[in-house]
Amino acid sequence: MSPGDGTSMDDGNGRQCLVRLEPSEQTVYIAFGGLLEEAITQAGLSVPLPCGGQGRCGRCVVQVREGTVRRRSALRLSEDDIEQGYALACQTLIEGDLTVWVPPHEELVQRLEAGDRAEKAAPEVMLCDHAAKPWVARYQTTVEPPSMGDNTPDLERLQRELARQHGLRDVRPTLAALAKLPTVLREGEWTVTVEIEQGDWAAPDGPYRLLDVLPGSAETRVLGLAIDIGTTSVATYLGDLETGELVDHASAFNSQIARGEDVISRIIYARQPEHRQELQERVITTINALVDEMLARQNLMPERIALATVAGNTTMIHLFLGLEPQYIRTEPYIPAAGKFPPVPAVSLGLHMRPEALVDCLPVVGAYVGGDITAGLLRTGMHEQEAVTLFIDVGTNGEMVLGNSDWLITCACSAGPAFEGAGATSGTPAVTGAIEQVWIDPRSLEPTWATLGDAPPIGICGSGMISLLGEMMITGVIDKGGRIAGHGRSPRVRRGEEGPEYVIVWAAETGAGDKDIVLTETDIQNLLRAKAAIYAGATVLCESVGLAITDVERVLIGGGFGRHIDVEKAIQIGLLPDMPWEQFTYLGNTSIQGAYLALTCREGRAQADELANKMTYLELSADGRFMDAFTSALFIPHTDESRFPSVQRALAEARPERVSHHD
């Protein structure tokens, strides 16, 4: 129904209604039953109508402050909103004299976004209550000066006091610490601050290692480094081991990308030992650059970093440690280790205290790595009764299902489509990336929003989800993902690589050189990625005898950027159709989990337990998975009844397409 039709539907008593528009204080007369949007236009004002006035995008929201209206649709408005008079201008009929607030739209849009989007959960770091002692801690100790009557050597003298004052028995120094000890004791006039490593995951009760000794009561902090080695990017957190406080963070692309975009390419590349070494060097160079950047910013020395905890997929950890990755790839898919021994930083050449330990979080199997162990730790779902599904929407598409009783996991190799890789106009979630799109169903003209409101440079994962949903709803593509709107708009055309849809003409782009498009091939890629994830989730549920509808919460991890548009993700069948509030977007769960294990002894112990407890389900060559995958290769899904909210949206958007048969 077009806005213009509203006036002819004059089912009131034909009278004219007076509409006052604030804050501009204009007034217009509109026939009873007319649309708010008409009143606004007639007054020479405007509200955005990105979805073409279809009541889908919620962008045309205004506030009715006085008078009677009838809302045809209140999609996206909460009961609270309605209470307060918020209404969609394109869906609201005037049924009396009104006072309407037409705000500068930014304001309202901001307010609305929280509803349909799972925003990244606020805390970037999770802290435990730190009842347990940190992995590395400082102690200040005053030592009796030696004398002819007490000629105990310096080390034993210190050890004696550590045992007496702090209950730390059998503290063993590193050679570097021992070398400093005599001078520092005297420099500090027998008062020193010691840095002591109190065990590691393999031997949590010791022996204690003396890593450093400083004169007097030093104010330095003991720092730890959490590292997430992703196939595409590497993230690092620098934190205070004693307080858990996050000091700094940095991230960058993994420079291994030059040798292949996915883990398989890299495993293949690593077949020659010198290549394996090159990949190890590349990732360490990437990490060191990030560490240097943070240290420089904080004006700190590498020696202050006393521990590193690393999370990464199984292949990344193998390459990081220089282990042979070949057997991960082929049947029966065996990693070199599940739990990796802590190794001294010096053996890897990381920019930190050479004797400090580097601890890689345990992996579950060849395709479910420490990134998932870490992510799971971050979610805390293993401590709750609610059946939770945790999806890491990355290249490997790993997910975990379960609760405090049981955990099952799988990987479904979704490919990098949602990370912006591989698509003709794809880009990671950086400034200028299109992250939301609406399409007017009649003109097929798009409206888009970019990250940082910069001129568009390409389209990122969340943008593609949004775009795909719109294309389906407006019939630009059919449900099989084939471009179907030929002849309806110049934006639907046959490009060099086949049919495509133009989102932004070259002239309007940031670079100004190329149209931003989504091709049919891109769409097939996206469909495969979303199908793999949805199929993985359903097969995972079925494998334990549950239906996907039995899942009570869905936690989403991954590099989408600021948010994921849950409504659109459901619309394309990436996520199961559940109430929006059941979804939470957590951002990069791997780094957050690694940080938790770094700063919390209990957390690190849990990571081990979790890796042990997770049951791995192998999906490759599983007939059930192939079947679920094929049925998910459709928008939203072959079995549309699994997506009732999408059925409703389709019925509203394309009333002519409603099945008239049953």
Partner: protein, 450 residues
């Protein structure tokens, strides 16, 4: 009724001690639910759990064996109504009926036909399973002599006589080969059951005209008498009567766990048809639909071969991805200089590639490499679609004999193997095709332009 993995898990110790050979208790319970392991593999289950799980996992259709050791024919133990729900486990036995009244020469000839028949198909040795000796002479001695003749052949044996005395003569002659006794009916069931006990042989219970209630009552009676290794003949014979009876029996056993009908079913397609060809077609129905023993009257190799093939087809594991046979396929009418493309043997991959090539209107050769049923990307990731395998496929399909050029188009997704492939296929030109099948028509167009 079958329990889900999670339900079983709740009964296990949940310690993940790994002694069962699985990494977690949940992994073990899932295998258990899929009947791929025995409960006894876990040393830590309580007696109580054991009893509970055992009763839940008893097969709804009893496993029956004919014969012994090397020549054992096992039937039954099915767990589903539809093959796609899991799989059909035990192929129905194909048995040929010989009347004991045939003259020596004819009997020997027919027996040898059955015993000597063997044919290979996709790597499997296929043969009929046994012989049913029908008492038509009315003489226990003749019957026994014929049975003795059969007993030396290493075939499964069915003894068909309604007379207990003749039956016993046959059982003696069968030399402990545990033949199936056919059949106990409402009149003679007790002496027949006694024989079954005495000789440790399975017993067929014959109903009348498809009356399943009566059949169930009789089976219950015989089982109660102490003979539990039963095979059922509902007595229905023609196309739709048999289909109805066998379907209802299968449903009763599996969906309702109705024990009195939870036994394998024996059928006689020859008795429900007018001529040998119809017999063979009706036998097909029985392979498709729930028979465990199919007793044929007409021995015709052409028919037997088609039935063996059908049986092999229906009893494959449907959980495996659908595969096409690796080899060189002609799309359109390719000539020696037509392009050569290679892909994997996952059926949907094959269909989409073949479909696009066909749609392009340009004839081409399509080489299907054995990737164990995986799609291009999955196979590549798992090392099942690498240079070595492609080179092997080229050789196995004798490609150079059929094609006059030496260039091969690989899927765009595996562009990275070009180098390796150049090494494996010395002197060949490796072309990287499109990533998606839908790109094939335009790719072939460009290729033709040169």
């Amino acid at each position: 009724m079958a329990l889900s993995g999670l339900a079983i898990y709740k009964m296990l110790p949940q310690t993940n001690c790994k002694e069962c050979g699985f990494p977690t208790c949940l992994a073990f319970s899932m295998k258990l639910a899929a009947r791929q392991v025995e409960l006894s593999a876990c040393p830590h289950v309580s007696e109580e759990t054991k009893t509970q799980l055992d009763s839940a996992s008893a097969p709804p259709i009893r496993l029956i064996s004919l014969g012994k050791d090397g020549h054992k024919l096992e039937v039954g133990n099915e767990t589903v109504i539809f093959r796609h729900e899991k799989t059909f486990y035990h192929q129905p036995g194909l048995i040929y009926r010989l009347a004991d009244s045939l003259d020596d020469q004819e009997f020997t000839h027919r027996l040898d036909q059955v015993a000597d028949y063997g044919v290979e198909r996709v790597g499997m040795d296929l043969r009929p399973d046994g012989v049913a000796v029908q008492d038509s002479s009315g003489s226990a001695d003749t019957f026994a002599a014929r049975v003795g003749q059969v007993a030396g052949k290493g075939l499964a044996i069915i003894l068909m006589s309604s007379d207990p005395a003749t039956m016993e003569a046959g059982l003696k002659a069968a030399q402990g080969k545990e033949p199936l006794i056919y059949a106990a009916d409402s009149g003679n069931w007790q002496p027949m059951a006694d024989l079954a006990k005495k000789y440790g042989a399975p017993l067929a219970v014959l109903g009348a005209g498809g009356d399943l209630e009566a059949l169930a009552a009789l089976a219950e009676q015989v089982a109660g008498y102490g003979v539990e290794n039963l095979v059922l003949d509902p007595g229905a014979r023609g196309w739709s009567d048999s289909l109805g009876a066998l379907t209802r029996m299968r449903r009763a056993a599996i969906k309702k766990n109705f024990r009195p009908l939870g036994y394998p079913v024996i059928t006689f397609p020859g008795e429900g048809s007018e001529d040998p060809r119809e017999e063979a077609m009706l036998a097909s129905q029985f392979i498709d639909r729930y028979a465990s023993l199919i007793v044929m009257d007409d021995f015709e190799p052409a028919a037997l071969y088609s039935l063996l093939t059908l049986r092999q087809n229906i009893y494959t594991d449907p959980q495996k991805p659908i595969q096409v046979t690796p080899g060189l396929y002609e799309i359109g009418d390719p000539k020696g200089d037509s392009p050569l493309l290679v892909t994997t043997n996952f059926s949907l991959t094959y269909f989409s590639v073949a479909g696009e090539v066909e749609g392009s209107g340009r004839p081409a050769w399509l080489l299907v490499a054995d990737s164990e049923g995986m799609s291009v990307l999955t196979a590549w990731a798992a090392g099942k679609f690498d240079a070595e395998r492609i080179a092997k496929a080229v050789k196995a399909a004798e490609v150079p004999d059929k094609i006059s050029h030496k260039s091969i188009v690989i899927p765009g997704f595996v562009a990275s193997i070009s180098g390796d492939l150049e090494e494996e296929l010395a002197g060949w030109q490796i072309l990287v095709g499109p990533r998606e099948a839908i790109g094939i028509p335009s790719y072939l167009r460009q290729l033709a332009k040169g």
